[in-house]
Symmetry: C2
Subunit: 250 residues, 2 copies
């Protein structure tokens, strides 16, 4: 139904069938929004959890490499080239795990926070307002019923006034709650757009920062380091090949 | 024990206490190596699994955004700006998930493959060779026992020859297996260095490619896109603020 995007607050007092029907459409839309956001929330939570796990596993790997020299290997304990190479690896991998940790924090603040707020505050508010509206409608119905039974019997003026007062108060309360409910449903149409775009923007900004951090600060120094290590490994491989030949010639 | 790094193959025939003791040191070192690699393997497996999960979760998020326009929202179905914005987000996030998938593949080939090979082929080989060596030693002991019992009794020449032949064959077999076992233990001292450095190099190269891919191809086009979206969201937020003011003035 294109074009419909606002519940008329000015018609809340009338409570017409048209308004009720329009309310139904808004409630359906809210249900569809809830369901869609719930899926998106789960997907983003998976990204966030995986990013945290990646950060932790990278940190663990770095720590294991750092601990290499503390291992009590009965042989090759004097292999300082190997130890210092692994220390360097530990250092660069630790830097990488710091980048991952920064990314995790940014995802928490700029992606998970806004989408969680929308789920737990804005969508939850609608559910509560619907309940409050339902309760105040029931209260009003009760008061109106009491009033209609009143007119058939003879009652004293005091009771009559009390019931009248009750009808008035509950009507006023119902009107307030429906106003609040309608206003929140209207607001949700705007909030849901922000709630979709804000975490996505946060996600993208965090990724861009991560790539920048990685490529500007780390890549260059890593490449130099890797060229050196690469040469060592190549030499080691040559030595290994040489050794294999010796063994085979025995 | 610095300096020790080779089991003497030329002494395998003698089977001296010194050689046996040195073998013990190599076996201890192999056990320590196994234990260290097992921890490192688990940490790398965690990185790899987290990277795969990140790749999958990113892809899922992109797919959900792509599916936004297929959702049957009763309201705002005509919101083409929102739909096309989310399509663009879906596209860039899908590109990012492709980068993650490339990284996953590289980690599989250049990190998980070599460390798995070392675990399942090289370290496993040592275990098997030790068993084979044990069996051939037992066979030789049995043959020698039979021979020593022979000399006390009078046997016919044929049986004597058979037992002699058996001692010779089992001794030859034992010597072959100990040679093989020693050679593999010696080789392991070199292989373990390669097995440490190769997956780390693979890991680093994969990360560098990932950062390059991300910063060269994606970051720039993303930033332009985000500037546009940022403006839209800012406008939307202004509109939202404006709307809140209208509601509050009612």
């Amino acid at each position: 139904m294109p074009g419909i995007d606002k519940l008329p607050l000015e018609e809340t007092l009338e409570d017409s069938p048209q308004t009720r029907s329009l309310l139904g459409v808004f409630e359906e839309d809210t249900a569809a929004t809830s369901s869609y956001f719930s899926q998106l929330f789960k997907a983003m939570q998976r990204i966030y959890d995986a990013q945290n796990e990646l950060s932790a596993a990278t940190h663990l790997t770095s720590r294991l490499l750092k601990d290499y020299e503390k291992q009590r290997f009965p042989l090759g304990g004097d292999d300082e080239v190997m130890s210092s190479t692994l220390q360097q690896f530990a250092k660069v991998i630790d830097e990488l795990s710091s980048c991952h940790a920064v990314l995790s924090t940014q995802l928490a603040d700029a992606m998970m926070f806004p989408i969680t707020q929308f789920q737990e505050r804005d969508l939850r508010e609608i559910v509560i307002l619907k309940e409050v509206f339902q309760i105040s409608s029931d209260d009003h119905d009760t008061a109106v019923n009491r009033y209609s039974r009143l007119s058939k019997r003879k009652e004293n003026e005091k009771v009559k006034n009390e019931v009248m007062e009750d009808v008035y108060t509950s009507r006023k309360k119902q009107h307030e709650t429906i106003m609040h409910y309608f206003a929140s449903l209207n607001m949700l149409q705007y909030k849901k757009k922000i709630a979709l775009l804000e975490p996505l923007l946060g996600y993208m900004q965090a990724q861009i920062s991560f790539f920048k951090l990685g490529s500007e600060n780390l890549t260059q120094q890593w490449e130099e380091f890797l060229t050196n290590i690469g040469t060592s490994v190549f030499n080691m491989s040559s030595y290994q090949l040489h050794y294999i030949k010796i063994i085979m010639s025995q």
